[in-house]
Symmetry: C2
Subunit: 133 residues, 2 copies
Amino acid sequence: MTIGSLAEATQTRVETVRWYEKVGLLPPPARSSGNYRLYGPEHLRRLSFIRRGRALGFTVEQIRDLLALADDRERSCGEVDTIARAHLADVERKLADLTRLASELREVIGQCGCGSVADCRIIEALSPSGEPA
Amino acid sequence: MTIGSLAEATQTRVETVRWYEKVGLLPPPARSSGNYRLYGPEHLRRLSFIRRGRALGFTVEQIRDLLALADDRERSCGEVDTIARAHLADVERKLADLTRLASELREVIGQCGCGSVADCRIIEALSPSGEPA
DNA sequence: CATGCACCCTGTAGTCACTACAGGGTCAAG
DNA sequence: CTTGACCCTGTAGTGACTACAGGGTGCATG
């Protein structure tokens, strides 16, 4: 399996696959006579894991930890649970922030009468103490 | 007003103030005999505008545009409205993404029986076709 | 007058997770 | 034998800062 096929199979860019190798998430594969990377099914599994983790918003460092835990199959699942819960808490914080932000934005936009900038409420809302910038 | 007071007044780091100057959001202020930056009330107003915009999630480029529009007070408010609406649409997209993500995470976490990694549902959920990594 | 300390200066490099080249090599089809 | 798709390495860029390193300034205290 060349890097192109692996990338296609996992919906990843070729450069990204090489980057995962560089930062140590994906082990260096064998090389062909022409120095092409040759991947096996284990690489496909590992890269799929990485991509799914990224899609769920885990950082690369969290995925590195999860991979290390997944490799050590005897270990208790507790640490995995801890990482996942910490991440969920993070996502929920961001969600709350964005919700607040969206409602502030909607309010600001609703006030715009669309006259001239001189009396634009959006600009006013951005300026300190409602004064134009 | 030195850079430190300005930074404190706007809840900004000193380095960030200097960075806004470097990228052209904040005009270069006068200098003291000892080469210290000296800011006036206009700088305070402009920096407050920038910080409020950032807090609302506008990018630096969007703020650059908003500042240019705000400076040209004759112009119609339409462009300001366009920028704000585009940003709101962006925020709403992110909000939808995060909401989906949080529910997926909650599901994954709920499945973890916290035994050994070998039968950890979180790891399985991250692996392709439910198979361990 | 000397010292110390908080503050300021410039400039560069690092963060995160990639992305985008530049400048070349390899391979299979026509 | 040439074309074109693919691959290689290495470096630099993205956004919005942040973190130094290595120095200068300004003011209070001894």
